[in-house]
Symmetry: D2
């Protein structure tokens, strides 16, 4: 591996740190078609960005993402900013001929996502690649779940039951961070974590949701104003309160193209559940169950076995022939949250090298956005069952 | 305990066996106000009923439930027949001055349930008691869950997530037993097992569902005709097929009176889940989680503890001060399915002796019926959110 | 089933209640060769025995176990007293031509157990049957574990890891009940609960322990004197203290006849473990794991499956073709502690009717006693590996 | 952080990769007193070492570990070779004034470990630091377990039950890799994985084992000869067989200085257990349970709570105030195997900067070696209880 490919990353918060970790380590575990060079980190604040670049392993720091587009040593732009800036950066980067990997949700509106998808299609024709970063697809257990479905081990799928449960805003005094403001975040639980279970369910089943019935709620309508930069953590908060303009929780029922039914729930009010991204799938020949809080385990019930010896089995997804797992450690030595990002980077680099379109594409991201829009529409219309616009 | 009270039971299938077990054993473990005397078992077939009476411990057998009403040594009538016969038997028994305990669902229609409730109210005025047998309320772990909520340990409840998952009709060749026929069963998963999670959720929260959005599905529309008496098991089946006229699965979202949101799912198509009657409740101060497949465990998260030492704890509900558990065995010696029925009988006998109205009442059963009706109405109207009629 | 067989039971404490429950219910769930008639309960205190007989369902009460031997309507004597009285009662009953079922441990010394075994062999020649009541063998999951081993599903067994963990005497103020006195109980954790894991391990493997290395300890050497009748519960206690003369915990390593190694631990000081009778078996083709605190589950790892889809699976032991389970409820409807006793009674009655020797025999009980003796000998001799005397 | 410190690492197999990952990432997550510079990787084969250096992020490659000692830009030597070379490298490095971090087990004999400890003590007097790399101490859940014990949350500890279960040599055709040869590995399961549970138990309790009774076994006495470099994986194997000269499994009982009893088991024959490094500790006030296969969970039973609400709780060890966890991701976002190494490097660098002796010291490593020696001695002497030599 003598070839290299230059990378510029925008954003150095939670996602920026996670992606940096992936760029820093991918080559040590995977045979990559080109070694990524961590050329530049871009941010708004020069000092903070320089410090972050230094600690995260980026060779240089840039103030403002546009500088990345001007650099010849940057072939890939990795977008790790909040959702409201995705469209502008991604479209500009693609037009500048940079391959783009963009955090989810793709955008905060369907219109933006459509524009991004159009730009991605146009860029692809010129050999420029793009991907939306639904990291959970690259958790080995989720990828294994997909493999089981693909191999027909579940038979005809009847049920999907997916939840993304967190509890970080149960306390009404938790401040009004940007993720609780519609203009910054687009939506609340729905777009932030609901988007993940929609993508995961559609990925594992290999088929889209065709219609949904939604219900959303904002339990705590006002919260103390927060330090503007605060992400998931509280930061300093004020005694002045402002309105929460996104949902605290979003529930929906859905139908998949193949006839399966789904129940979905995304909430930040499930006390004791920290990052419970869960999915269970029941089919005529078998079932699967996954909870990210035990991310190295996939539970599989093989309904083809005699009833007397069947049961959900705990597959520790650390075997050599499990997706991604073989690149790391011996069996039983689990992976952590950040590894999915490393896998994502690896797959993205391979697609770029092979001239293939990486998945999930911007079109896939748009598809998720349309499901989110249908849920919001249904929720605003007495939960009436609402068709998802086809992508 | 020198006083006795005579019992007559109608029906000797699954529920008849479970109730018989309860009558046979309650006095050996609980201090009862009156010792139940198992006077008579009533059934349609004389020989089968006589054999069942003998093996189940009933002193005599009667052909036809009406004979029980004529017997002076029967003060309690226990109704364990399919739902379509409940109204007629219960109303007649109450009018005959017999205390009535009736299996769930109370009836197959709201109208019947209303008539039964009216009869129960009238009877109560004359000191005649009635109860609908939602057995899961008397599982110690469920009763403990209720106690935690009642004590305020969960704070403000935000979420309920309830499922009743079975898999006994996944095979499309499983025959068309009475539970799959609308005229016998009223509804499918919805009324049979969905009723249980509705009652359990309302019981644990201590508040009713006020509105729902429903979705139902019949995955397998035709099945081989079955031996008419077959219950849960297959019996002999035919090559001739008939239509399945009930739902295979029912999903719904709901709102509780106190503002909590609920997701519910009842299905007989969840491969590998045998009798997973599950409920999780998330509140501002704590959370609870229960799965009947591990019926001696209640999981409790105390959100008031410091985050660094909090987590869902597995309470083995076998301690002396747990509901019902102290009457049985030492800690760690679990109970089984049938014990909830014994507890039910014990509570019913105590209420009768004290001249109190046992819970759940026929009015509670009617309340569940109205939720079921609202779900069906919503499901037939594009899942539109539908108010539950107040009881 | 028109034939009957008369039963007399000695002892009405914990075990007496559990056995009574079994006699009362066996005929309602199993096709028995003869219906057991609960003829008489024998005890030392006339009033207490009469009251117990009444609540537990015995037709009469006798003062002193010898009266049972004189009754023609008693064909079976069920011994539920503490271990120090087993030998005398059992030998006399066998000599009186009564079939005997005797609680474990068979005796408090090897010599007594030998005498009992000799009496049992002599009685068997005359068609009189005997059995020692190791109830855990009849837990469906344990019986299923045995079936898997018997079928060769585990291949060559390499490891057994068994524990019986309780915590009821962690508090040093818990009084000096009879189970903590050598002259009444024979030994402490070792004989009471250690005996269970020895029997269970030998039963599941189908082969005996041939040698052991033991270590025992009494953590709390003095305790308040207790009300003499107190069993597992505290009763009233005194400020005067007396010496604990049995072990609080017993640990041992062992070798099985077939070459497997075992680690064993029996303790009443495992805070938070209430009745954790656990066994794990690892073989060349598979592994099994069981914990009585989740008694309806058997975990099975099929090592013959490809590594990528293998894992411990949770078999809910409630299927129709599981041992004993089919007689009870539909799949997923679990059993409780007492059911194992019902199964024991059922198997004993079948053996008696068939003129076969029931298992476990008194000789099996003697075998366990010899393992206990070897452990004590080893513990007293610096844990030196000590051969178990062959039975 | 402008200061830097140069690192040279010996060995590029399993442990070399894990340590490299730690050196590469520590600065991105922790505030370090000095930034580690990955100066050189040393190995025997020039080409392989150069390739490994390149993919693992080392600036240069050296043939032979002695070259590291001559380099001025190397202040730390990290030893990741098999155990038989530890003594020579470590002593030489310490004498050359390099800080040393050395993989476990410290050595293959007590004599070597004593020599290393003497060298470490001498070096420490000159400000040169040393540490043995028992990585499991730095798993957040294990560090939290230690914190609970230290805070007195467990009260008086009575029981430790520790196992390290793997299954990678169950197949008798698995080849004779170096880990199965006494001259290379020192011992088998005992020294490789048994050493881990000894260190973990002594660390969590904060007290040493004072005596042991051991039992070891080699189930498969001959195996196909292997490619000499093969580590955990099979590599190419031969039809010629050679003798296995180490134990396949090691069991032992032990007593701790404070009076607690321990049962220990290390085996590579536990089918289905991949890397089950487990420890349970029972004390008078609480209990803890950990299994590395679910490494982000610590189970804690608080025995001070009322029995009615007590139970083992699953603490997801990902909270900000948990050991190490706050440096990584938000709650619920778990860590993987390699993170413990990053924590180890972080603690080592802090100790070096502060001029403090890092833990575990070479003396601690010697202590573990003496326990191993006592077990071997006991196993060779009929499992007789054997005192551990004091360190």
């Amino acid at each position: 591996m003598t070839e290299t490919i230059g990378v510029g990353l925008v954003g150095s918060s939670f996602m920026g740190r996670a992606h940096s970790q992936a760029w820093r380590n991918a080559a040590a575990f995977f045979d990559l078609p080109a070694r990524p060079v961590m050329a530049a980190l871009a941010g708004r604040d020069p000092d903070r960005t320089a410090a972050a670049a230094s600690s995260l392993g980026w060779a240089s720091a840039e103030t403002g993402w546009r500088r990345l587009l001007e650099r010849d040593d940057v072939q890939i732009v990795d977008i790790c900013t909040p959702g409201d800036s995705h469209a502008e950066i991604a479209v500009a980067a693609l037009e500048a001929g940079k391959h783009v990997i963009c955090e989810k949700p793709l955008a905060t509106t369907v219109a933006e996502a459509e524009a991004m998808t159009a730009a991605a299609v146009k860029a692809a024709a010129a050999g420029v690649r793009s991907m939306v970063a639904f990291n959970y697809r690259r958790v080995p257990a989720v990828a294994l779940a997909r493999r089981f479905v693909e191999q027909g081990r579940l038979g005809r799928v009847r049920h999907v039951r997916a939840q993304y449960l967190q509890d970080w805003i149960v306390d009404p005094e938790f401040p009004l961070v940007w993720r609780l403001q519609k203009e910054r975040a687009g939506s609340g639980s729905l777009g932030d974590i609901g988007a993940h279970i929609i993508d995961t369910a559609q990925f594992v089943l290999g088929e889209p949701l065709t219609g949904v019935s939604g219900l959303t709620e904002t339990f705590v309508r006002e919260r103390p104003l927060a330090d503007s930069s605060a992400g998931l953590s509280a930061g300093s908060s004020s005694t002045v309160k402002g309105p929460v303009t996104v949902d605290d929780a979003a529930l929906f029922l859905g139908r998949f193209a193949g006839g399966a039914l789904g129940t979905f729930e995304a909430t930040r009010f499930a006390s004791g559940r920290k990052n419970a991204m869960r999915i269970e799938v029941n089919g005529s020949l078998g079932s699967l169950s996954f909870d990210f809080e035990a991310m190295n385990e996939l539970w599989f019930h093989d309904h083809a076995l005699p009833a007397g010896e069947a049961g959900f089995r705990r597959i520790l997804v650390t075997e050599a022939d499990h997706p991604y797992a073989g690149a790391w450690w011996p069996p039983g030595h689990g992976l952590g949250y950040e590894h999915a990002f490393t896998h994502e980077i690896r797959d993205f680099l391979v697609a770029v090298a092979e001239g293939a379109d990486p998945a999930p594409s911007f079109a896939d991201g748009l598809g998720v956005q349309r499901v989110l829009a249908a849920i919001e529409k249904s929720a605003a219309d007495e939960s009436r069952f609402t068709a998802v616009e086809e992508t």
